[in-house]
Symmetry: C2
Subunit: 172 residues, 2 copies
């Protein structure tokens, strides 16, 4: 018995992206109740040289899309990266989940040792296997950005708890 | 081809715990350079009802120890939970890594479907398979606490970057 690459990726990303979307609902409700501009929340960051909330959410979706799309070897959906509101960010998460759900286990399983070369905007390249891309890079980065989005909102006083972050396991 | 449960757990926890230990080194250097009591950092939290840094680090080690120990079916090492200094926290991380390294792939692989029942201090119980414990619970919680420890230190102005968080993949 071993773990499938599909089960280690798609359902996990969907679970935590759904959690993140729920966290944003609570942020929107907080902003409305307190008469705070939601953009204040979206532009909050923990340190001057860290991403603000809006980019933490974008980065989380990017890691999910890029990991699963590359494992499956399909074209990666592109986002405009112009979201400025909570509904727009929630829409980006929904589109990400929709894309992930189009991927079938047969497209992903078996690609553990597939060589995946990533060319960064700087021109630098990094080579991974399917497994190392997911385990050593995509999942940790994904969790980093989901957690930091949550942490920013906790710092802002939004009433969210660990359960919101964790979401609910999905059957896929 | 599939991913092994061992490779999805032990080397990953070791990589990010080593990163966390390095992050604490930079926190200690910051405290010394700025003449700040390290306990100020250890007691910083992002919100009044979140764990301070010291407990984020303890929780990260607990999730690593509990996940791998339960997957392997061995006795879980106990910590006193009385750390009050950065060297003590680094020692806890080192002991965790030492424990993880005693576990062999043969003790963990094959336990994907093993039923694992966890009894919480409250008396509540939760049932997992080996795979669901690792993927849906332990890894996300582990990353949550490692990231929040990092985020607390970023908020405090420590000069750390994503590379410190990511650590270096280990061959185990």
């Amino acid at each position: 018995m071993t773990i499938s690459l599909y089960k280690s990726s798609v359902p996990i990303f969907v679970q935590f992206l759904t959690g993140l979307s729920g966290v944003l609902d609570k942020a929107a409700a907080f902003a409305e109740a307190r008469k705070v501009e939601p953009s204040v929340l979206l532009n909050t960051r923990l340190a001057p040289d860290m991403f603000p909330l809006v980019r933490q959410v974008r980065a989380a979706t990017d890691h999910a899309v890029n990991a699963c799309g590359r494992l499956a070897g399909v074209e990666l959906p592109k986002f405009e990266n112009d979201e400025t509101t909570i509904p727009q960010l929630k829409d980006r998460i929904a589109k990400t989940i929709e894309f992930l759900k189009t991927l079938k286990p047969a497209q992903i399983d078996g690609n553990e040792d597939k060589e995946i070369k990533i060319v960064f905007p700087s021109g630098a390249t990094r080579e991974f296997t399917g497994q190392s891309l997911l385990l050593n890079n995509s999942l940790p980065n994904f969790y980093f950005h989901c957690t930091t989005a949550y942490d920013i909102l906790r710092l802002c006083g939004i009433e969210i708890g660990k359960r919101d972050f964790m979401g609910t396991p999905v059957s896929l």
